[in-house]
Structures are given as C-alpha cells and as structure tokens.
Amino acid sequence: MSTNSQNTVEHHPAVHRDDTAKKLGMWLFLFTELILFGGLFLVYAIYRYLNPEDFSNGSHHLDVGIGALNTMILITSSLTVALSITAMQKNKPKLAIGLILFTIFCALLFMINKYFEWGHKIHYDLYPGTELFKALSPGEGLFYVLYYFMTGLHMLHVVVGAILLGIMANYIRKGMITHDNYVLLENGGLYWHLVDLIWIYLFPLLYLIH
C-alpha cells in the first residue's frame, strides 16, 4: 500500500500549482477584513443616526484638504501596484520592483500626512482623556473616538500592506516571483487594494458628510 502511493507521487514529479485556490484563500481573508471594518461602519452609522448634529460638528473640524490629498495618494499607490502586476506579466521585473517601491513611498507619504493630521489635534488636546475632550458633548466625543479608531486601524493596515509589498519586491529580486508565477504579488496587491477600498469609504463618511 505504502509503495503504491509513493509510486503515484514519483510518476508525477512536477509540483502542482493552484493559483485560483491561492487567490480564493486571499479573498477569504479579505472578507474577514471587510466584516471587521464593516462592524465599525455599522457602529458609526448607528451613532450618527442617534447624534446627527454632534457628528456634523465633528466632521466640520476635520481637514478635508488633507483627507482628499491622502485619497489621491492611496488611489495613485493602488494604480502603481496594479501596474507592477502588468509589468510582471510582461516579464519586466525591474519595472515591477520600481513600481512597488513607488507604492511604498506613497504609503510613507500617507503616514506622514496622518502624523501631521493627528499631531495637530493632539497638540490642541483633542484626544480621549483630556479636559477639552471631557467638555465635548457625548456625540462629538463618540465621533472623535470613532475617527481615531477607524483611521488608526486603517493606518495599521497601511503599515502591514507596505511591509508585505516590500517582501514581494524582495521576492521578485530573488526570482521567487516570475512572469509565469506571480500569484504572490497578486495577493499582496489585493491586500493593498483593500486598504484603498476601505479608505474610499472612510474619507466621505468622516470628512465629507457634514
């Protein structure tokens, strides 16, 4: 019995690859991420419904300019990841690495913007626990708590995505991702696009709806 099964393996030495299953696995993970943020969107929607004026006041104090700039940065970084996959498919690994490095640069720009945005608020004592924060109406307090938590959790995903893309660039350099085996890069790209996708909803919900 045991020799039989060994023979089966020896007859087909080629390592079987299943790109569709690898992508499907990645998508399953992305669904858990969507539901994670979905829960927060639900909390936001309910509290906005219960405190419409406080949430409106809160969103008036956010800087639409910085939010819009960060949206543009993320959209551009999403483009360069998509282009890097096209470059890999066309067997241009150096171009693909360059595009990924540009994406990581965009991620850094995004984080620098966030640093200034949060830094500005923290400078004015606008964060949970301060006297100023305690003086806010409960609804406005909720708005800022959700603002910090949702953008903070999104920020964590930006950091993780940038690290993942760095690993992918290194894999291309080492020849572990090639023009006919690039599903890893596709999956890394999918994660980055998810980060973009969540921001596409966070931006109008937090900054634009007054």
Partner: protein, 120 residues
C-alpha cells in the same frame, strides 16, 4: 491495517489532483493581462470621482448628502474591485463570493437599523 488506511487517505488527493492537473494548468495559462493604459484610465476615473465628491460636499444637499457621497464611493469601489483587483477577469466564483459577503454586510446594517428605527 491502520497504516494501510492512512496511506489510502494520503494517496487519494494526489490521484485526484493528477486527474485535474491537466485541466487546471490549461486554466492557469490563460491569465488575462490588464494593459498599462487600462489601469491608467481607471486611475483617472478614480481621481475625477474624488474631486467630484469633494466638490459636491460643498453644496447643501440636505437629505441627499449621504446618498450622493456613498454612491460616488461605491462607483469608485466597483472600479477598484473590477479592474485593479481583477475581479472582472478572474474566476466567476470570486464575484459570487464578494456578492454574498456584501449581502451579509448589508443585512447586518439593515437589520440593526430596523431595530433602532422602530424603538419607542
């Protein structure tokens, strides 16, 4: 006997995967390439929609504000899903799974709102 059984369990997937291998490799070869230009066009569309949503938010649309903002965001999300995330060109099963996840998410929101809207 016990050894024999565990071996059978192991050999089954190997044989199965072999019988499917030819078919799967054929499928893996027809990867769709999204051209550079297509990606750039999608990026332009996303940028225009971002400017549009910021511009529209300057006006007082009263009840429509949320609807307009979320509609534009959803158009942007669909562009990212279809082109950047390759859903338009990948296996259809992924599209079905995304739709099912969206239905789960939307029912989560709708049923919670039923609760809040009909309290008191």
């Amino acid at each position: 006997m016990a050894f024999g059984r565990s071996d059978m369990d192991l050999s089954l997937p190997v044989t199965l995967s072999h019988s499917l291998k030819h078919e799967i490799i054929m499928e893996e070869q027809k990867h769709h390439i999204v051209e550079y230009l297509t990606n750039i066009k999608i990026w332009i569309a996303l940028a225009v929609l971002t400017i549009l949503t910021v511009w529209v938010s300057e006006f007082d649309l009263a009840m429509l504000t949320v609807t307009v903002a979320l509609t534009i965001a959803t158009v942007k999300a669909l562009l990212v899903l279809a082109y950047f995330m390759h859903l338009k060109f990948d296996s259809k099963i992924l599209i079905i799974m995304v739709i099912v996840t969206m239905i789960i998410f939307l029912s989560m929101i709708i049923f919670t709102f039923f609760d809040y809207l009909y309290r008191r």
